[in-house]
Symmetry: none
Subunit: 401 residues, 2 copies
């Protein structure tokens, strides 16, 4: 739904809303024909399902597997097809780097080029992250872009983040990554006039980087892609006139939350520390996004049993979360990560909303199969979730007389 | 769905369709955990549910509570976000005032201004409707706008309707209502060139009104908002090439029906008189919109038991309605008005369609929770209802070869 319309309908409320996202929640049946969530003993989630209204959502479109960024944007009510974040910006968010709208960010690879300058290995033999950090130090010291400042940060293995900071920078550039071996890196090419200066700066960066890295082995060159700038979107606190907080330990989720204007609460450590932080922040905000990461990691690892056990662990922590007394509570995931697929998937994601004015359905078990029979429907766009949470929180006035 | 496409697909048919709308039908559980509809003994509705296909619809978007105008437009197949009626026009419809497209309508408040002309009470102490009528008489007699005729009518308490009738009037004007006390009413401001003459006429009206009301207490000034003209939309009889009739006693529903081109049948009295009128009109039309108001009023009053009893009363009248033998019969509401909320709400609305070629589902009870399991789905846009009724009536030909 249109954020401008929601802003027009927004009204103040005292109600507190807690959106609890278990990353990669949705699953598929394993060897015993039950999904991770069906196999897990989750009495607290089931009680919630019995009291609330359930369903399944998906982020981008039926059949489309969302990445973490788009999946979370959908949950926050931003249509990922309309609110498109560049890969460079996503990488910056993932490292916790706050961008200004004038910056241009890109994802970088350290790669190996042969004596003729042709890419021999796009990932430089997947060098370890420590080596990546050392090479970033070399570039930081050895490259000078004149009027343009730059920031370079290791991400993981061969991957790094580059942020250009200056004036007159446009983000519309083709990748320098040729995407295959045996070819030279591509020259930076501006896609419009506003980005021509950036293309020159990037060409300068690449040339100097090649010189600085010439003697390194195996990572003696860089490839850049996903040039992009921080978008200027309507912000959640403005759309709904509320104080919104992100409680998440992982940089990516903190970054996406920052992008939509949430306050990002300090968290050191794991989920228990997130809960400490949530409790500490409870009085200061109206809307909370609480994020649990490990279910996704277990799914990506293909570890069905671990994902099941983690769901049981989270279930045991639910009473602690609910004891905060949110007026509106939503339990869901951002996307599915079935252990049998070892990856994100397109399957819709279970969701349950509990609140005073919820209309109950017949669902009494929080699982994929049961949620498909719920009042929210078996496959609704995740962008429709946030307006419904806001309705339950009394934050949307009537449309028309 | 697009009305142009539906018009392209429309074909003639002998079938008669009856859309029966119980206003504010949808509810929420009361003290005994059942909704109004679940608590009511409605054997005729349940039989209908067993024979037909059921589901739940909503008018504007999930989470958005519709007003009566948008809710009915949705039922008639007009997307309320696209077919946006101005507040002034809605007020005119509500009083039963037929507008020509050249008229400009506005909602008015009688208010109190202090000696410096600043608004002290936007509602003039909520003067009674009789006082409002007396002040309207004063303005009608005391104001002269030269070439522009005007019509002024009391609505309720401090609220009145103003309609300007003349040539060269445009509706795009800012409100004069400052929306807060302590400020002077705003000067009428045209938002485009076509409305500049209207702004001058309105300024003249406001100035004369202030003079006429100067000695009145407490209502000594007017505020105007929602300037708008009757929109020129595709009309239902044209879209589907059929004769459509509205059978409703309340002005608002007659007005919205007129807006989409229905014939409005004369009705004096309550629902039984509506049924008399429906029977009298049966041979002369192909499509009938029959409206029952009292369920909404009971919900707005927070009277759970009365709403339940009214549903039982309507249920007892269903055989009389069905004895007319509509080929396609649809039982639904325009929006939910749960007694526990004492207001319209965003919750989707039960619907059942019965017809010769309906594909039945597993629903055998007409209730919110049961309809959520129906073949029409637990949450479809109300604009999708009318095309389905027309399909069942044989009024839509195949799309493509």
């Amino acid at each position: 739904m249109d954020l401008d319309l929601l802003h027009r309908l927004a009204q103040p409320s005292q109600a507190k809303t807690l959106l609890f996202v278990m990353d990669g929640l949705g699953g598929l049946p394993g060897s015993n024909r039950m999904t991770e969530l069906e196999e897990a003993a989750t009495p607290n989630m089931d009680r919630l399902a019995a009291e609330g209204v359930c369903g399944l959502h998906s982020a981008v479109a039926p059949g489309v597997t969302p990445g973490s960024g788009p999946a979370h944007l959908g949950l926050f009510g931003y249509d990922p097809l309309r609110y498109d974040v560049g890969r460079g910006v996503l990488a910056a968010l993932g490292t916790g780097e706050a961008l200004s709208p004038a910056d241009v960010a890109a994802r970088g690879n350290f790669c190996t080029v042969d004596a003729e300058g042709r890419v021999a290995d796009r990932r430089a033999g997947r060098i370890p992250t420590e080596e990546c950090a050392r090479l970033c130090d070399l570039l930081r010291d050895g490259v000078d872009l004149g009027d343009t400042d730059f920031l370079i940060k290791p991400v993981k293995e061969y991957r790094f983040l580059l942020v250009l900071k200056g004036t007159g920078l446009g983000p519309d550039l083709d990748d320098t990554d040729p995407q295959e071996t045996g070819r030279e890196p591509l020259a930076p090419r501006a896609l419009n006039k506003d980005s021509e200066h950036t293309a020159a700066v990037v060409a300068d960066f690449v040339e100097q980087a090649q010189r600085v890295l010439a003697d390194q082995d195996p990572a003696n060159m860089v490839l850049l892609r996903g040039f992009s700038s921080k978008p200027e979107w309507p912000l959640l606190p403005d759309v709904y006139s509320m104080r919104a907080a992100c409680v998440a330990a992982y940089p990516m989720y903190r970054g996406v939350s920052r992008l939509v204007g949430m306050d990002v609460v300090d968290v050191e450590g794991g989920f228990e520390q997130e809960l400490d932080a949530l409790e500490a922040a409870w009085n200061d905000h109206d809307f909370f996004f609480l994020h649990y990461k490990k279910t996704d990691s277990a799914g990506e690892d293909g570890d069905f049993q671990r994902k099941t056990s983690l769901l049981e662990e989270v279930d045991a922590l639910l009473p602690r979360i609910l004891s905060l007394g949110p007026d509106v509570f939503c339990l869901t995931g951002d996307h599915s990560t079935p252990a049998v697929m070892r990856s994100h998937s397109w399957h819709p994601v279970p969701v349950c909303i509990r609140g005073r004015h919820v209309r109950p359905d017949r669902v009494t078990v929080f699982s994929e199969r049961d949620c498909a029979l719920g009042g929210l429907g078996p496959h609704f766009p995740s962008t429709q979730l946030m307006p419904q949470l806001m309705a339950h929180a009394g934050r949307l006035r009537k449309f028309g007389a």
